[in-house]
């Protein structure tokens, strides 16, 4: 059986004939399920040809059509790679820096990545603003002294800070509304963005369970004694108005609705906002204090 291995080095691909125990073991080992046409035996030449690849991404290579493709393992790669040329530092630098810049640009253009970055920025700003406001509120004001001057300067700074936060928030709302309109309607754009960012996208969020969504973003470490409880969903609009003893119950039902909303946004792309908002209001009435 003639077997070759394809090994990519920077932008070149090398085909190396392989034989010996490593190749035998690899070729006989994790064998892909033969397709029907192969099992029928279409032509002997293609069946004789075995190509060992190491990167599953190479499967799409048209040069591999008709050959039996086997995924190689690490020991075999170690042996093969020693035979191949090693590029110089200058070549490698040029190639890797260029590839890195391209990949970074591609990743940056991804809407989920942009949303994650924007959400982080918005959270950071919100925390910082809270800190500043707290600091200012506890600062004693005495008219006609330097503390007065300080507070005036601080007020200017806070105004600029709030403007910046509002701009980032507007941008974030636009992004998250485009990605997940139903979820945004249900819990507000901030919470929707945080949920999506924590889950790593709308689809991962849609695939997760309501119980997972409920504690998403919780900082506490899971332990058998005391589990995580308060995730980002506890910061959603409306949760603060629920009386504390019933808050957890409301968040549980809200988490279930969030998952439904994320599924609508990720898969069916139907607008479920109205029925979900009606169900949220029903849940709110259920937890409202009895008169």
């Amino acid at each position: 059986m003639a077997a070759t291995a394809r090994v990519a080095v920077l932008d070149q691909t090398f085909e190396v004939p392989v034989d010996g125990p490593a190749a035998e073991r690899s070729a006989a080992g994790p064998r892909p399920v033969p397709r029907k046409s192969e099992a029928a035996g279409d032509d002997a030449a293609s069946r004789d040809r075995t190509i060992v690849i190491f990167d599953p991404g190479q499967r799409a290579d048209p040069a591999l059509a008709g050959a039996r493709v086997v995924l190689g393992d690490a020991p075999m790669y170690r042996v093969l790679r020693r035979e191949l040329p090693v590029p110089t530092l200058a070549e490698e630098r040029r190639h890797l820096l260029q590839r890195a810049a391209e990949r970074l640009a591609r990743v940056r253009a991804d809407p989920v990545e942009r949303l994650v970055a924007l959400t982080r920025e918005e959270e950071r700003l919100e925390r910082a603003l809270g800190r500043e406001v707290n600091a200012v509120s506890s600062f004693p004001r005495v008219d006609g002294t330097s503390s007065d001057l300080y507070l005036r300067a601080e007020a200017d700074f806070l105004r600029a800070f709030r403007d910046h936060w509002a701009r980032v928030s507007a941008l974030l709302e636009q992004e998250v509304r485009a990605l997940a309109p139903t979820l945004t309607d249900l819990v507000g754009f901030r919470t929707a963005a945080r949920l999506i960012a924590r889950a790593g996208g709308v689809e991962p969020l849609a695939r997760s369970s309501a119980g997972h969504v409920q504690i998403l973003g919780s900082r506490r470490k899971p332990s058998p004694l005391r589990g995580p409880k308060h995730g980002v969903l506890y910061q959603a609009e409306g949760v603060a108005s629920v009386p504390p003893p019933r808050r957890a119950a409301f968040v549980r039902s809200l988490a279930a609705l969030c998952v439904i909303a994320a599924r609508a946004d990720a898969f069916s792309h139907r607008s479920l906002s109205a029925p979900l908002l009606a169900r949220r209001d029903r849940a709110l009435r259920r937890v409202a204090p009895r008169p």
Binding site: V7, A8, V9, L10, F54, D55, P56, G57, A74, P75, Y77, R78, R81, R82, L84, V86, P87, L89, E92, R93, L96, L97, R99, A100, A101, R103, L104, V107, R108, E113, A117, R120, K221, P222, S223, P224
Partner: protein, 268 residues
């Protein structure tokens, strides 16, 4: 007034310096690039060479040096693979040790820190940044030849598996491993010492490990593991050879062989 000694070249490495300031030791590496500082570290000049201080609170390698770690350092001109390079704080010091003709393949997954790493790489010759996932070494194969050393600082629950996998694909026989283990990101429940023991046990199959270094007080519940890669290393032969288990936390204190019924922890 700060009392400082002059820079002492280290006998361990031609590009490593130490000095004492106010009774505390500091480690400095000879810079591979030009100022400005990479992460706000201090620069100085000694004998016509630019040196940069390693901040032990920012860099686990710096903390390990201060805590008395004496393992194998990256040598000048070698090829090293760095998993979890983030924005290049420690990676720049490892690159310094490798020198202008060394290769440091710095793998980072997340785009934000990687952008900073990329801009650093423009002015730091040995640094070769790769945007990729350390968990999927197959996707990195085209870019990384066999390396002489592996530095891992990934703080992931499955960090021990990441080390074993990356070593199997990339690390040459006899290559060095430097591994900053963050015990608190492994799993819930058991103590950091249990995590350390489980990690040491799982790596001992293919590495000859040095004594682990506790990085407190610079980094809480972090350990620094170093060792030599021995893919065909037989651990049973090792344990029968002598008291290799004496330093293992929670292991046999008298230097005897480990109890066979000791519960094995699963590292997630």
């Amino acid at each position: 007034m700060t009392r400082r000694s002059s820079f002492h070249p280290s006998e361990r490495h031609p590009r490593l310096f130490s000095r004492s300031a106010d009774g505390r030791w500091e480690w400095w590496t000879e810079a591979c690039g030009e100022p400005p500082p990479v992460y706000g570290e201090r620069w100085a000049y000694t004998g016509g060479r630019a040196v940069r201080a390693i901040d032990p609170h920012r860099s686990k390698l710096g903390a390990a040096l201060l805590r008395g770690w004496r393992g194998r350092l990256p040598r000048v001109g070698e090829r090293w693979l760095y998993l979890g390079a983030a924005s290049g704080t420690t990676a720049s010091h490892v690159a310094d040790l490798l020198g202008p003709h060394g290769h440091l393949y710095a793998v980072e997954r997340s785009a934000g820190p990687f952008a900073r790493l990329l801009s650093l790489a423009d002015r730091w010759p040995p640094l070769l940044p790769i945007l990729g996932d350390a968990r999927r070494p197959r996707e990195l194969l085209a870019w990384i030849p066999p390396v002489d050393g592996l530095y891992v600082d990934v703080a992931q629950p499955d960090q021990a598996e990441i080390v074993a996998e990356a070593a199997a694909w990339f690390l040459a026989d006899g290559g060095a491993l430097l591994f900053a283990l963050k015990a608190s990101s492994v799993a819930r429940g058991p103590s950091p010492e249990d995590h350390l023991r489980a990690t040491v046990d799982s790596l001992a199959a293919s590495f000859q490990l040095d004594r682990p270094i506790d990085l407190a007080p610079f980094h809480r519940v972090h350990y620094f593991l170093s060792g030599e890669y021995r893919p065909s290393f037989d651990r049973r032969a090792q344990s029968s050879r002598g008291p290799r288990t004496d330093w293992r936390p929670g292991g046999a204190r008298d230097g005897g062989p480990p109890r066979p019924d000791r519960p094995r922890l699963r590292v997630r």
